[in-house]
């Protein structure tokens, strides 16, 4: 069992309070997933050639200022960094390959969680309530967000195994369920040069969809192929720079509920995680049907 949550601010006035609305959703779903949690928050695209990079390291006293100056000195990109304990967001004109190459040449265990013009990702071990507090999720602002609370069933509990998973730029995915063929998907993708970071089943789904998009599919087209390729149980919630997308497997084994108002779209595994949202009693509330793609654009 895991919990998923998603939120899209349709009304611009909701964006400044995004974190305050999403944290109770995540905390409530902590009952479905107390091991670890994560949150991806999307905001307006950075101007010019700038990108945002989210990093994680286990060391809560990590020297992020030193990290930044080494990055600037060794890559030639003067950048900015904003850090809280184990987590940092770097804003830089460097492209993702440069950042990844630079990171892989270092000794310290700093992991790149996400890259893109709109996405920041946080994930860590522990109860979702603690994690939300550790990284001050209530203060987060943005256009949309995707969160996950994990109860691990098939691979280790670690920040790297927590969701959201990301691949490419401005794309993330959270999953409630379990896949039965992640290794065969992985073998197919590795032959095509796709690199994996964990042995987690969800990472296979995330990289499969991103691979399809890199081949020219829209996310919706990639999901149509995913229905044939992914074997197992899943409610998948995904986000791109301007979209939230939700699907359930053919048997609808894992739950999901959607509440839509003129101000927001809110998604969760269970209604109780939505009960605090303003105007939810008057919202259009529905349960997504199996193998149908639900997509919302900002």
């Amino acid at each position: 069992m895991c919990g998923i949550v998603g939120f899209m601010a349709r009304d611009a006035s909701v964006r400044s309070g995004l974190g305050e609305l999403v944290v109770p959703m995540l905390t409530c779903m902590g009952e479905r997933g107390p091991d670890s949690a994560g949150l991806a928050v999307f905001s307006d695209p950075l101007a010019g050639g700038l990108r945002r990079y989210s990093f994680y390291t286990a060391d809560r006293n990590f020297d992020w200022t030193g990290f930044l100056s080494q990055f600037a000195a060794e890559t030639g990109f003067s950048s900015e960094i904003e850090a809280i304990e184990s987590h940092a967001i770097l804003v830089s004109a460097a492209d993702p390959a440069t950042v990844q190459d630079w990171l892989s040449g270092r000794d310290d265990p700093v992991h790149l969680l996400s890259a893109g013009r709109t996405i920041d990702v946080y994930k860590d071990e522990g109860h979702p309530e603690q994690i939300a507090r550790r990284y001050s999720f209530t203060g987060l602002q943005g256009t949309h967000a995707v969160g996950h609370t994990r109860m691990a069933t098939e691979s280790a509990v670690s920040p790297a195994h927590a969701h959201p998973f990301t691949a490419g730029e401005d794309f993330c995915l959270v999953h409630n369920g379990s896949l039965s063929n992640p290794y065969s998907i992985r073998r197919k993708l590795e032959k095509r040069g796709v690199r994996f970071e964990t042995d987690n089943d969800t990472e296979a789904a995330c990289r499969f969809l991103e691979w399809r998009m890199s081949e020219g599919d829209t996310l919706e087209q990639a999901l149509e192929k995913g229905f044939d390729e992914l074997d197992g149980f899943y409610t998948l919630l995904m986000a791109t720079a301007d979209k939230l997308v939700l699907v359930r497997d053919a048997f609808a084994c894992k739950p999901a509920v959607v509440a839509e108002t003129s101000a927001y779209v809110a998604i969760s595994s269970e209604y109780r995680a939505l009960a605090h949202l303003p105007g939810v009693k008057e919202a259009r509330i529905f349960e997504p049907v199996p193998e149908q793609i639900y997509s919302w654009t900002i």
């Binding site: 269970e270 939505l274 349960e287």
Partner: protein, 231 residues
């Protein structure tokens, strides 16, 4: 109105609420009414009841609402999550909105009314309860249903009545596929009377035109030693 007891889940836990409903309500007084406020999607509200009280849940509720119900009449003024009225023994459970998966799963008796849609696996393994759905039901509804009646005023999803025993299903709308061993059978006057009776009980319009009867072909009942001898 003297017998109306308000219980507010914003001020008490579900456990305390259920303890109250189990131990403090008069056992034999059908005039007792309980209003449960602020359900806010919480699970296990009003489970295991055994008194003739009328219980109103004012808002959307979570999983296993009114599970194992005996004699009580529970109405949810909103939607419910998975497994409402699971294993109902008697009495009635009414959902004014929609129900998620497994509504009335393995229900032994009593009446379950979902006024709008019920999701997949509605009436799975039902054992004698009656279910009336004002809207549509999702896939695999009445899977392995053993006894009782499922009335669906809207459409039924794929795999309806898979591995059905002696429960009978009536569907007014489109059937998007029958499960193994389920078959459509002619509607008799007795069937029409049964549908009418249940629609009246459910308080839904008694429009019986278009109802189809689905029951077991009984071909899975026995092991056919001669079938598929390819070993």
């Amino acid at each position: 109105m003297d017998n109306l007891i308000p219980l507010d889940l914003a001020r008490m836990s579900v456990r305390d609420l259920n303890q109250y409903l189990h131990h403090e309500l008069p056992k034999e007084d059908p005039a007792v009414r309980v209003d449960i406020l602020n359900p806010n999607g919480m699970h296990n509200i009003a489970v295991g009841l055994d008194s003739p009280a009328k219980i109103d849940i004012r808002g959307h509720a979570g999983y296993f609402i009114a599970g194992m119900n005996k004699r009580s009449h529970v109405t949810v003024h909103g939607n419910v999550g998975w497994s409402v009225a699971e294993n109902i023994m008697s009495g009635s459970v009414r959902v004014k909105g929609c129900a998620s998966e497994c509504a009335a799963a393995s229900g032994h008796g009593g009446l379950v009314v979902i006024e709008q849609d019920a999701s997949s696996r509605c009436g799975i393994s039902m054992k004698g309860c009656d279910i009336v759905v004002g809207g549509s039901v999702g896939h695999m509804s009445a899977f392995m249903a053993q006894a009782g009646t499922l009335v669906v005023c809207g459409d039924a999803g794929a795999g309806l009545g898979d591995s059905l025993y002696e429960a009978v299903i009536y569907v007014r709308g489109k059937i998007h596929g029958l499960g193994a061993d389920a078959r459509e059978e002619p509607m008799t006057p007795k069937d029409l009377a049964r549908v009418t009776e249940l629609l009246i009980k459910a308080g839904l319009p008694t429009i019986t035109a278009g109802f189809k009867r689905v029951a077991s072909a009984r071909s899975l009942y026995h092991w056919h030693a001669d079938a598929g001898q390819e070993y």
